[in-house]
Amino acid sequence: MDTIHACFKEKIGEVLLPGDVFSFRLPESGDGSIKSEKIICGPGLRRNGEEVRVCKSGILRHKQPNMYWIDSQQRRYVPAKGESVIGIVTTKSGDVFKVDVGGSEQASLSYLAFEGATKRNRPNVQVGDLVYGQFTIANKDMEPELVCIDSCGRANGMGVFGADGLLFKVSLGLVRRLLAPQSEIIKDLEKIFPFELVVGMNGRVWVKAKTVQQTLIVTNLLETSENMTSQQRQTLFKRVAEGSL
């Protein structure tokens, strides 16, 4: 019945390559009226007239009711509005900080975009510090802009962090898996020992455990879980848990 959905649905979970096409001939029902259907194309899918083209290689994902996107394992981050990322402050200039987020351009972060910050009471941010913030502006034609407060002016977990602990980089695909509501990887990892974790959509992960040794173990486990089935991962984690005890 749903022809557009149908042609998408049969490909869900399959690996697609750039140039693959979903063409939707609009179904003309018997009475001549054109039934309108809506689908939402996420990352990796682009509408091109009468068809939808894949533009990134990866797995086709679906979210009810009508969202489709391509899940790919790229490493370079492209800022998107509303996403939370870990940035590194590179310069202070005037009343903004320049923050490296791993994109093609540095993001700007206002002095005032911190909880409780006023013109008088400037936040204590040094060059090289880590900030966790959210994009309020991110599009291809403008310089991206970060804030460390939510719409109510609250920090809500954002701001400067990372006095100790370790920052490292993984693929964007892995980050998305870590951030998924019921992430299996994190669940498995939690069983080994307690640690603090900050995950940015830009592929940066910050970890802090009780000791340097434990921090390094978490880091290495996360890096290796990129290309593992859940079974392989579980056996590995189990071995580490036993060994580290």
Partner: protein
């Protein structure tokens, strides 16, 4: 060195029928994401010919090269010996323009896409191997593309026989050498780069063969990406 591979090739050749022997793509392979620094990387191996490709982008662009409405593409081909010369520059132009046509550059204005191709070994069909490596590296980097592309080289021997994916030795002995890049959307010709003289019929035959061979390479791309994502549910 090359003697070995040549004899290997020779054994195989005698085993097969003469007119079939020339229409064989050498064994080929590729590895993606093998370098830690670049945003995308791949090696592509065709017989003994081997290219390593690294891609950065969309990344920061120099002000002097900035384009206001699209990304700037740069391609560098590094020869194994000595410095890149005029020949490399001509190849770079070919690969760059092909990448420009395949990439959706307007999605990342004022940024740069840099493709670096390192020749690891040249045993014929070098330009097509460069193209294949570049395409796989671009895919690995996750840059938005409207279509994929691949390269196929055909040699025309002195007897007028068409040899696909020739070795360096076959290239040396042939009368004409034609390299085409084929796009995955319509299987049309993206690049044509030729040396030697040939007839119109021969050109069209080579194009037709390249189009056939491209199907196999595109299938290979698909298989390797599938394998790569095989552990993610």
């Amino acid at each position: 060195m090359t003697r070995m591979s040549a004899t290997r090739g020779l054994c195989m050749r005698t085993m097969m029928e003469l007119d079939q022997s020339c229409s064989v793509l050498r064994e080929y392979g590729s590895e993606q994401s093998l370098l830690s620094k670049p945003d995308g990387s791949s090696t592509f191996v065709q017989g003994d010919t081997s290219i390593l490709a690294g891609v950065y982008g969309p990344a920061e662009v120099k002000v002097s090269k900035e384009i206001y409405d699209r990304a700037t593409v740069e391609v560098l081909i590094q020869p194994k010996m000595g410095l890149p010369g005029v020949r490399e520059r001509a190849r770079e132009q070919c690969v760059r323009e092909t990448c420009e046509a395949a990439l959706l550059l307007t999605l990342h204005p004022r940024s740069s896409v840099t493709v670096v191709l390192q020749v690891i070994h040249d045993d014929g069909s070098l330009l097509s191997c460069c193209l294949n490596a570049a395409c796989m590296a671009l895919m690995d980097a996750g840059l938005p593309m409207s279509h994929l592309f691949c390269g196929v080289t055909c040699a025309i021997s002195k007897e007028g026989q068409i040899i696909i994916d020739p070795t360096a030795r076959q290239e040396k002995e042939c009368r004409a050498l034609l390299t085409f890049a084929i796009d995955s959307a319509e299987c049309n010709v993206l690049i044509s780069s030729t040396t030697g003289s040939f007839s119109v019929q021969e050109l069209q035959q080579c194009i037709a063969i390249s189009q056939k061979a491209s199907e196999q390479i595109f299938q290979f791309y698909r298989d390797s990406v599938k394998r790569r994502y095989s552990k993610i549910q």
